[in-house]
Symmetry: D2
Subunit: 308 residues, 4 copies
Amino acid sequence: MDIDAAELQSFLTDLDADIRARADWGEVADYIPELAKVAPAQFGVAVALADGQVLQAGAADTRFSIQSVSKVFTLACVLGRSGEQIWTRVGREPSGTRFDSILLLEQEKGRPRNPFINAGALVTTDALLAGRAPREALSEVLAFLRLAAGDEDIHIDRAVALSEERTGFRNIALANYLKSFNNMTNPPEMTLGTYFHQCAIEMTATQLARAGRMIAQLPRAPAILAPEKARRLNALMMTCGHYDGSGDFAFRVGLPGKSGVGGGILVIAPGVASIAVWSPGLNLYGNSHMGTFAAEQIARFTGWSVFG
Amino acid sequence: MDIDAAELQSFLTDLDADIRARADWGEVADYIPELAKVAPAQFGVAVALADGQVLQAGAADTRFSIQSVSKVFTLACVLGRSGEQIWTRVGREPSGTRFDSILLLEQEKGRPRNPFINAGALVTTDALLAGRAPREALSEVLAFLRLAAGDEDIHIDRAVALSEERTGFRNIALANYLKSFNNMTNPPEMTLGTYFHQCAIEMTATQLARAGRMIAQLPRAPAILAPEKARRLNALMMTCGHYDGSGDFAFRVGLPGKSGVGGGILVIAPGVASIAVWSPGLNLYGNSHMGTFAAEQIARFTGWSVFG
Amino acid sequence: MDIDAAELQSFLTDLDADIRARADWGEVADYIPELAKVAPAQFGVAVALADGQVLQAGAADTRFSIQSVSKVFTLACVLGRSGEQIWTRVGREPSGTRFDSILLLEQEKGRPRNPFINAGALVTTDALLAGRAPREALSEVLAFLRLAAGDEDIHIDRAVALSEERTGFRNIALANYLKSFNNMTNPPEMTLGTYFHQCAIEMTATQLARAGRMIAQLPRAPAILAPEKARRLNALMMTCGHYDGSGDFAFRVGLPGKSGVGGGILVIAPGVASIAVWSPGLNLYGNSHMGTFAAEQIARFTGWSVFG
Amino acid sequence: MDIDAAELQSFLTDLDADIRARADWGEVADYIPELAKVAPAQFGVAVALADGQVLQAGAADTRFSIQSVSKVFTLACVLGRSGEQIWTRVGREPSGTRFDSILLLEQEKGRPRNPFINAGALVTTDALLAGRAPREALSEVLAFLRLAAGDEDIHIDRAVALSEERTGFRNIALANYLKSFNNMTNPPEMTLGTYFHQCAIEMTATQLARAGRMIAQLPRAPAILAPEKARRLNALMMTCGHYDGSGDFAFRVGLPGKSGVGGGILVIAPGVASIAVWSPGLNLYGNSHMGTFAAEQIARFTGWSVFG
């Protein structure tokens, strides 16, 4: 796993050029109107190394909507705040179903399979509120992210949040369904508002890679996440981080990762590096098409797969 | 990850004593009459290290029926024989369902979710036959295991195989169901006979730990599995190795593993160690109750979790 | 099928006495707070005959919340208004699932199985609105019911409607889920408001039996429903009128029927009679326990079963 | 319901001519090799009236494989033999799934939804055996059918039975799956053999219409079925007789019916007539395409719908 930073930088630069030459970018998520406006043919990557360096290639400083990648950070906040209590309300098994499926929720009587599908993330956000106003809970997540990334310039894109509030009927359905099973303590619209704003956080690949250092437990990362909790986040990202494409990501990349429909993927090489890739076109599982390809190439080049 | 072998041996000896003092062994699988005869209160562990040592504690030399742990080795044989073709017939996603579920098979039109649930393993065994008689295919698996373990004394327990042939109605259902979708090339009873015999292979924890060295890619392991294939087996074991308890195993243990209803679990620490635990009592997912506990304790003591 | 009215009256009087002597009334629906207040040990029955007579026994003039029985009448309005178009948006097959299931809706991509489960009834109510304000659509349903029953004294219980609006999270989930599949033309809260008010219509057994005469096509019923439409409503009531207890009702009673969680059941003997039974305690399918028993006894006594 | 026999005969003759002029016959079942040989463009109809007349049109005397229509008669035998005990092993609710679905069987732990889907019919046949050899059980069914039809010339087509035995993998799966839930008392292959032979009974439309007279309770029918049992068979045929097309058949035809993949449908007008239609081409639910059309036309012409 000893990688020469200069060689890796050269590889990333070539990878960026290679990807830009390709035509198969996938399709931008169209169910959130604001996200549908983003041009698919974009790519950026950033790799935060153990020695503190952050390598970059492509549009590593372009902001994008982190969407479901935020679920890792809200879960980290909730685990920090109330420990393992959350597991009474949400499981930690892969779901085998789409990110917005409501099917298993009925079969399992309102306890979502894991905190990374939408239903489970709604429960996590509901727990994050903990009697506070949405503004306070969101401030906590932003403060946590800024501290993790060492960068104050991280914000919520309110246009995206409002766009989801107006059109996110499936998430509204999930929240009300959870409420009907008494697995939502706040009014559904309050949890939903918080959730849509949390998903609408904008970050660059560089910021995201830096924020992920604590999950990778890099030596110079801010000490804001207990090693045990980082380990658990990685386990969940490995088995559940890509919805019904999680097995395929593990098979091809061999690293824990969490994707968002904005096209970002946070990939963790525990103890070694935190990687953020971004490309807005999605594959059929709703994960970044070129981002997944890039993650696979990087894992292959570096030999960072946790599977040997 | 530098572990002192003497310290680990001492830990394993204590762990064995600790487990023997407990009363909650779980229930022995009762749907295979021959296995139902096994006493639940047994425990054995073996750890094959990179330097060639094999540490042992408890009943590490007692033979047990490896059952579904065999699926890892038949898949290795099939991958070696015909490469990646198998993935046209079986997926590699966690199923979120019981090991013997037929439900997803209907929804997904006869293509099992992964090769470690029963339906997927039947497809793998069907591919293993490749026009040969069951005897030949089984000889290949046995030869592969003996070579991997460096031990000729590995055999099939025919009483167990016959016991399953007489009572394995759910597996007979799965095989015929696959046939109805044209995802079984041999007569169902031929593939079933091979499958029941493969599951009835008997090994000790020591033999199993030694056989797993190639999957862990330990330096002194026999060179009979390409690194790329070992990596893929590990990825599948991590996401799918414990049926609908896979996420929980990843969360608690943090290592790829594959369980069998005989109470054995093969656990891989890539590049570092191959671990076999055995205890016949099962938890509600059909995985060894004490075996899972032991794997968790060993991972915690050694810090071998791939998640940092 | 020639029944002497005096004999039937005597039978109904005895049936009422018999039921009052029993203790197994079932449980009142508790998920709508206002309905949970109703005492379960009540029973009423009314039978409208072809000659214009309406026989009564028990609390036949006590008002109750007709709830899902209303779905028959809104469907009749929609069929009258826009004909068979509705079948592009909703099916007419039994669902085999609970009245409020969301599971099939995902599998069938937002097209509910039939208009009598909640999801399908929400689509019907959505079609009923047809660009009008809720008040207008509800006025149409009320006017239709008053005309059918020949009784102006039929109203909506606003306390029940508000109770459902505050607590009907599962219906809110269904409406938003339908919207996400573009099978809801109005804002979900608008259709939901109309739906909750429609379900909150209060009627007596006598009024309900009289309103059902047009579906039974009794000679003296107001001519406000074409025979072809009446026939279709009866077919749907037979196969889908009691959720996942529809087969059992057909088996035991042998007549088309539609139940509501308020404890009412409208039962049709085509060409012969319209029957309304009411008892608030429910069986495990969510249908009136004593109402079903009474319907079975009446069918047996009269020989009105359509099955000979 | 007073129909002039001469007018009806004239209508049937015209209907036959009309159907022969059409091109949309549907597809012959291809999963049973012997049935796949049958030419789709065939049609026959027979109507047994209360006065003893049997009207005919088209190929009313051509033999066809009655397949699942047999399920009505084996159920009648079982109800006659052991009464209502069968309902502890099989339900009476519409399934909402395909005739050969295994999905619900897993969710409902081996108790099939109703006796007319394949899983339920296998349970009925298993109960029919009642400790006897298959030959004896089949003799009972044949004797019952011959008595009902008043015609000794009814036989099993062994080529069809063997064809199913060789290729009926999905039924083999269902039988073994039932066995795994202890809902099959005989060895699966014994019940399957009996089932395949029962389905391979050959009859003409005329014979089938005559055999159905007892279910219609026509005055001159042989008295071999209690009225209560006939009523129950009709209820089951109405709600479950056409698999996941049962609701549609009730909606369009308005009479109890049972279809088979050989293209036959038995349709009952209780107290009035027993109708058999046959045309081998199937619609997407696996029911006769032209047979359903013909049943609908006859119901419309005669006004025999039980729904008024």
